[in-house]
């Protein structure tokens, strides 16, 4: 536990050296809601139809933007490996008296706490400024879902960040992954109207599971059974990604 706290402390020290960075992280999803969300809300004035009911676009988008924010923080944290590698710190870290798992968990726990603040700001101001009908009685469940979501994406990206040793190549990989995962999911639109091939892809995309669960918890959209299944699938995704990331770190990333 001491080592996890030490890694979190280190992440905190680095993050607090740039307030611009922190400000961007905290307010990015709300800004997304205020610009992109409002734009589409006006364009689809009658709302979007999903699960047999009509929902305002801003309300529909809230769960998606929270998932996107977790994904964004996970990407930034994974990019940290390149900064650490450039500064020589990555290899030095790996000689410290901690397990590879403690290193990864410490890195993401601090950044997950940022995602939690980000989610609180987005949900609170989304309800206040945009009139989104938030199901406050479920808000407590957002904590594990936001933390697990951020961690899952971070562990998933870690394996690639460590194996793809070139910053520019990782950048390309992220662009492709971002594009495929975001547009092939329920993040921006319901899956019902999609062509079968895209719908199939989106159904097995963990970003869909993540967005759906957040949408269920924030505005109550979807069924409890589906949410349980999607939560379990995302947990499995997180666990497998964690195992792969630890294995990559143990296998000798220094070549």
């Amino acid at each position: 536990m001491n080592m996890i706290l030490a890694v979190m402390y280190r992440e905190y020290l680095i993050r607090t050296t740039s307030l611009t960075w922190a400000f961007y992280d905290l307010f990015m999803p709300l800004t997304y809601m205020l610009l992109f969300g409002i734009g589409l809300d006006r364009a689809f004035a009658s709302g979007v139809q999903t699960g047999g009911q009509m929902v305002g676009y801003n309300s529909f988008f809230l769960g998606g933007v929270l998932a996107m924010a977790s994904f964004g923080i996970a990407i930034n944290t994974a990019y940290g490996f390149f900064v650490d590698r450039d500064n020589g710190m990555l290899y030095e870290f790996l000689t410290y008296p901690m397990t590879r798992g403690e290193f990864l968990v410490g890195k993401i726990l601090f950044n997950s706490s940022l995602t939690l603040v980000q989610a609180a700001i987005t949900v609170g101001l989304g309800a206040l400024l945009l009139g989104i009908p938030v199901r406050w009685e479920r808000a407590g469940f957002l904590v594990p879902v936001v933390v697990c979501g951020t961690a899952g994406w971070f562990f998933f990206l870690t394996t690639f960040a460590l194996r793809i040793r070139r910053n520019d190549m990782f950048n390309t990989f992220i662009n492709i992954a971002y594009f495929l995962l975001m547009f092939g999911s329920s993040l921006f639109y319901p899956l019902e109207g999609l062509p079968p091939w895209l719908r199939t892809f989106s159904t097995v995309n963990p970003l869909t599971w993540h967005s759906d669960v957040l949408r269920y918890l924030t505005i109550g959209l979807g069924s409890a059974d589906t949410m349980v299944a999607e939560s379990a699938a995302f947990l499995l995704f997180t666990f497998l990604s964690f195992a792969a990331a630890v294995r990559t770190l143990q296998g000798g990333i220094v070549k």
Binding site: A6, L13, G88, P97
Partner: protein, 322 residues
Amino acid sequence: MSPTNAAIEVENLVMVYHPNSVHPVRALDGLSLSVRQGEIYGLLGRNGAGKTTLLRILTTLLKPTSGKATLMGLDVARRPYDVRKKICAVLQENAVEVFLSVEDNLTTYARFHSIPRHQTRERADRAIEQFGLGEFRKQKVMDLSGGLKRRVQVAKVFMVDKPVVFLDEATTGMDPINKRGTLEAIREQARQGRTIFLTTHILEEAEELCDTIAIIDRGGVLATGNVDTIKSLGSAVVDIRVTYESLDEEALAELSRLQLVKLERRHLTLELSVNSRQVSPFDVLQRMGRLGPVISFDVSSGSLEDAFIELLGNRNTGGSGR
């Protein structure tokens, strides 16, 4: 040597990079060595000889292809976590938190190495003073020069009490005064019973510091022993240093055609190393006497550098690049 007396034991270690590729790289080729507790052990070798690979295996960054390495009796491949509790390392790359201040670099490092909080400040202060970092204490490391960054990196390991310290070219980029201070700090650590395992390309440094030296090449140990033993392997080498009032360039060109281990000219001073098995030092001295009016001269037996060059100079490979 009894196993209980050894800080590090390496037996028949092999490391092959990209084993399934068309061009696998054999960085270590059956390397064996033993390091006693409390000694300063120097690993010397050309670029690509396998020094960094060995260090990376011993610090748990890499797993060997085959063979065994133990540190304080712990198998580095099987019990890496326990090994990491026993070591601290200055790696070849600069490793500093560039966004943090000098002070935060030290306190963060202390936290990772479980230094009690009430001791952290005192130890950081001591390291800052020892490495002349006082005036930079609050500065972000990204604003410091390369040499200062290296001082911050080295200062960190002297804050903690681990039984084995790895130093990979630790004094690179330091000015002579700080280099001297670092060497003294290393000696002090060894006096306290810590085992120091270092690599360096500065052979005078190794000669001054190390209790035992191993020269490695092509992934194996070429020679090992204390400084005198290693130097004796190059005992056929004689160093000659002559300073002239003026130099006859033609005669110098003729001299340079002889088979010399080393010939360096610094203005009107010539420094030569002669392998007496190949060329008579007396013949060389006679020829040097004809080069011009002599102000001073000095003849001495070979240095560690001479032994190094004699041992490795004729081995015609560049190593694996690791």
